[in-house]
Symmetry: C2
Subunit: 210 residues, 2 copies
């Protein structure tokens, strides 16, 4: 069996983390760099990642997350946030980044910038919100894989009160909303969930050849 499949089979949504085990700095750097490299629509990266270190904040967030223990027990906690809005300034900043990274005059990128501006001008607020939110899930998929490869446990969570998170962390004023929460670290040896067989549909159920 390929290592990728071994790793993806090894991982599971950890229910109980061992709070005495911490992710090494060098591994966490890989995780951060993986998140930085996530591909997004047009490359716009309408995302921010909040690393919650404060134990007090973690405790408050736990109460907004149906009291799930992973929020406080995991070595690291990342909140994947999406932009609420996407406007011409974001596109101008992105074009400036392309221009400086690739050493191309901004004027050369004007066409691409205008094309992106036209695209977002056709979207209403809700469509932009959805589009940005989708990108958070790409980040989640890449993050889960990276963690599995590093043999770091991670639990993707949608079950939290996003509005309360946004309020506590002042996200709305920063054009952000909490999309996903991912506690990361090492499974507790008492976590029964690690012994349960992984449940997945069969390839026959999932794939159609056309």
């Amino acid at each position: 069996m390929h290592d990728i499949i071994k790793d993806l089979n090894w991982r599971y949504a950890t229910k109980k983390f061992d709070s005495s085990k911490n992710i090494k700095d060098e591994d966490f750097e890989v995780i951060k760099d993986s998140l930085r490299l996530v591909p997004t629509s047009y490359g716009l990266q309408p995302l921010k990642f909040i690393i919650v270190e404060s134990p007090e904040l973690r405790q408050e967030l736990q109460t907004m997350s149906y009291n799930q223990s992973q929020i406080v027990d995991a070595s690291h906690l990342i909140i994947i946030c999406s932009y609420r809005d996407l406007n011409e300034t974001h596109i101008d900043e992105y074009v400036a980044n392309i221009s400086s990274t690739r050493d191309v005059h901004e004027e050369m990128m004007k066409g691409y910038g205008d094309f992106m501006k036209l695209t977002i001008s056709k979207m209403d607020d809700d469509q932009k919100f959805r589009w940005n939110k989708n990108q958070a899930y790409i980040a989640l998929g890449q993050l889960i894989h990276t963690c599995a490869t590093l043999k770091i446990d991670a639990t993707p969570m949608e079950g939290f009160k996003a509005k309360d998170y946004d309020k506590l962390l002042g996200l709305r004023d920063q054009n952000l909303t909490a999309s996903l929460v991912v506690p990361m670290g090492y499974r507790h040896e008492d976590d029964e969930a690690q012994h349960q067989k992984k449940v997945r549909k069969s390839q026959d159920d999932l794939f159609i050849t056309a």
Copy 2:
């Protein structure tokens, strides 16, 4: 630099595939298994993956995809489809799968099934549609990472006419909609895009510590 980061830096949204190079069966099996193992909300996997082999279909899909050459030139083409609706039958099937995989009596799983049914009963059609669609993006994130590790090129695409795809492939009648399209294979040596520096925000722009 960690291999994960090398691989993620190596990948790029391939503009031109070498149509003479094909993904080996054993690699494609890893890709399929990776997609099968994608984590989803509650584990419901409201997804189907269409592998389009027919050259005629590929040509038709290309016309519905702003004529992008990758649709026909890539070794393999996967359409990531989301369920339109999620109903009690899907949950019953899932509970039956958990029950048989883990050899637990279905009666034992009734509480979890009822909990999921309650959750979806509170969602309107649009919320369920969004929720299902989000899961497709997790699959995309995991797929991109798996491909990069295998040194297989992949181009995530949102730029296609989903309604036309759905019609051509009869997806609506199967409770499906085309969410994402991913041509996969090997970059053409003429593809200039492979030489361009990757543009990403800095870690300082992306991460907040709280």
